[in-house]
Symmetry: C2
Amino acid sequence: MTMGFTPAPTGDHPPGADAPEVVVQRLPLYVRVLAQFEAAGAEMVSSEQLGAQLQMTPAQIRKDLSYFGRFGKQGRGYNVKRLALELRSILGLDRQWNAGLVGVGRLGRAIIAYPGFRPEGFRIVAAFDADSDVVGSDIGDIQVRSINQIKKSVDDLGIRIGIVAVPAADAQGVIDALVAAGIKAILNYAPVAAHVPNDVSIRGVDPVLALQSMTYFLKPHNAGASAAGD
Amino acid sequence: MTMGFTPAPTGDHPPGADAPEVVVQRLPLYVRVLAQFEAAGAEMVSSEQLGAQLQMTPAQIRKDLSYFGRFGKQGRGYNVKRLALELRSILGLDRQWNAGLVGVGRLGRAIIAYPGFRPEGFRIVAAFDADSDVVGSDIGDIQVRSINQIKKSVDDLGIRIGIVAVPAADAQGVIDALVAAGIKAILNYAPVAAHVPNDVSIRGVDPVLALQSMTYFLKPHNAGASAAGD
DNA sequence: GTTTGTGAAGGATTTCACAGCA
DNA sequence: TGCTGTGAAATCCTTCACAAAC
């Protein structure tokens, strides 16, 4: 379905290259909800229905999608299958991505064992650690390599994504090494605000930070609340 | 301007009650960086220095803090210890918070074993599961209870936070149960966009979603990148 | 009748820039 | 001098509202 043509450059927007980052971050949510509709057997969905699922306004969904093309049909909505395919292609989810994990402690092992990455096309193909006791061993079917072989492994194995699961104190050093190895996307589990050049994406997974902002609303006087996409 | 006799904060803002949610979400980052400065022995910090660490503009930091009070001294900056204390108090991080975990599968067990919550004042005091084979057993020092005892346990143990680590298909039901039990803050590890009343806070921890938006920038044509706090 | 795609309006957040204080 | 706190300006993001399409 990833045919050679870009959706339909009829609108006023440039192709989709200038979509705000917030919008790009919502796209995976749409993909996920579309999968649910598809599983439920729906052939078409409206922005209204998508919005109801995601607790967003239909207008926002339509505007978001409009950055990338004109995928809907008036009076009818969006074809579930086609929109899902289209968005997956825009996000690059129609291929496999190889990832390298740094840090094979408790957390790193849990990440390797986590079954949620593979079905979505993310494959951890190598693990790295500084501890020479574990280097050379296997965890599941993944070889643990020395941390100073990152660059070589990245090149040899086609690793495009780095996953950081080392203690906070070591995180920036590891991230620098990943960047030096040419990695442009980093998923960081360490509780630090890391520094990267601005052609590198970095996202933090930080449950403590999430809890620490929710407690604000648990204090008696503060009502209201917040929903953050998950 | 409408000041009656507000004891501590002298500013012009209302006490801090109307701080935008984005601002509240950044506060924990400030707390974290302040701890680093404190560990490094600094007594004072400027918004410039904080901004450098967090890759934010000094103006944003000053504006954020101004929602809650006037903590700095012109020409000198902020007292590291005092600001940290003040922010912890605003966020409610100066107490312990009890959490209940739902789902003791692989992920749930990893969460129980995760050593990052306790030092920050978050304590998992009970675990729940639907599987009668595990109900009644202990994981570490935590008892596994039946999922339909949530309400009673929440009351008995003073649980204020729910942590959801069940399969996607079960997540909404579990979240409904937590809400019915009076829980107002939920940390959701399940990959679903959950529905909660708006006096309940919910945050998702979702590494797949994070990866799925980064791949957009890995596609050849899309340069630039993003830094998301971690 | 229904629902999209989108300019224009509205709202929210960030940054500027400077008065005021140490 | 150095740096905060903050109105005002600028930017960014969301929602409105409606013509066009089915």
